[in-house]
């Protein structure tokens, strides 16, 4: 079923919208959630909550790209759940490794985060991504949006793991420069 037809089901308050969403994007969403949470039950919970959030937000919204619309909701719910579950300590999951990598350039201080304008930060990240070569941009997004492992990224992009690691390392250094230049406190 076309995305527009599924969105129309939401607008018509037809509950089959959720079934159709799950048929088309269930695997995609479960993968996003699992990459962050590494737990099937928690992932299923986030995916189910994703459909409820979509139900509550469509209408008034009418997303053109349902995949990324649902994907963003699911990723957001998964990260929030991850943060609640690991408030005291990290456990060595893939998400933990991603955070460790980012901390090498972002630091660990959260003092300025309370007053941070998230929309501005997202805009700065978009600017940073647009400055990257397309291959590196794909690697960066697969690593820090989709939370893929280095091995999976190297397999999908048909390149060596060492090249992926090196490219990401350089991209993170570039990210630090970019954010500092944009006036963010690290």
């Amino acid at each position: 079923m076309e995305d527009s037809a599924i969105v129309q089901l939401y607008w018509d308050r037809d509950e089959s919208a959720i079934t159709r969403s799950n048929e088309k994007y269930g695997s995609y969403l479960r993968k996003i959630a699992f990459s962050i949470l590494f737990n099937r039950d928690d992932s299923d919970e986030c995916v189910n909550d994703t459909y409820l959030k979509a139900w509550d937000s469509i209408p008034p919204k009418r997303p053109e790209r349902l995949s990324t619309y649902l994907g963003k909701i699911c990723r957001n719910l998964s990260i929030n759940l991850y943060e609640r579950m690991t408030a005291s300590k990290r456990g060595g999951t893939n998400t933990d490794v991603c955070l460790d990598e980012l901390e090498t350039v972002l630091g660990t201080s959260g003092e300025a985060d309370e007053h941070l304008d998230m929309a501005l930060l997202t805009e700065a990240i978009n600017g940073f991504l647009s400055s990257l070569d397309s291959d590196v941009r794909n690697m960066f997004v697969l690593r820090y949006w989709h939370m893929e492992s280095i091995k999976d990224i190297s397999g999908r992009l048909k390149t060596g793991e060492s090249r992926v690691k090196m490219s990401l390392s350089r991209a993170r250094a570039k990210l630090k420069e970019h954010l500092l230049k944009e006036g963010f406190e690290l």
Partner: protein, 197 residues
Amino acid sequence: MRAITFLKAMNDIDDSNIEAAEKAEEKNRVTQFPSWLNIKTVTAIAAALVITVTLGIVLTKKDDKTMAVNPMEQVITTGEAEELTGYPLTVPESFMESRKTELFVYNGQMTEVNYVDRKGEIVLTVRKAPGDEDISGNYNEYDKTDRIEAGGTVYTLKGNKGMINLVLFTRDGYSYSVDCAPGMTIEEALELAHEIR
């Protein structure tokens, strides 16, 4: 800045960046078909698809809704894989420190099960498909190759430095491959292979 704050801000990046990364993934996955899916098979499948679509025949049905055959489909349970392939699949839930995490079905014929450790690394890949060809897609050259018969099944064991990295065998008309990058002992390999049906 906390890294988790950055990850949250990443959430709303431009859709085009998310989609471009996913397309890169799809493009690569097409090239990851197993060795048995040679050009003749691809051509035959393509021809069959064209004919089928032309005739407007429903290829598969699920919940009374029509669905197109997917060259590679991710599923959640072995039961869903069995529905697509039509043959039973038995694999262990976990292996060493890894867990059964990803299941894929290729063209409704070959099932692939990936076992992922806590770092998100794939440590074991099990494949099953009808026939007797090598379906591993692993073309590495190993120091040693042995053939061992156990319980009426002949196992081909390949590996380096005294460890087993690849196990190939056929049983009851199906070909199996067990690919373990970190390596396992012969006993572990045979025990694992015996569990897989």
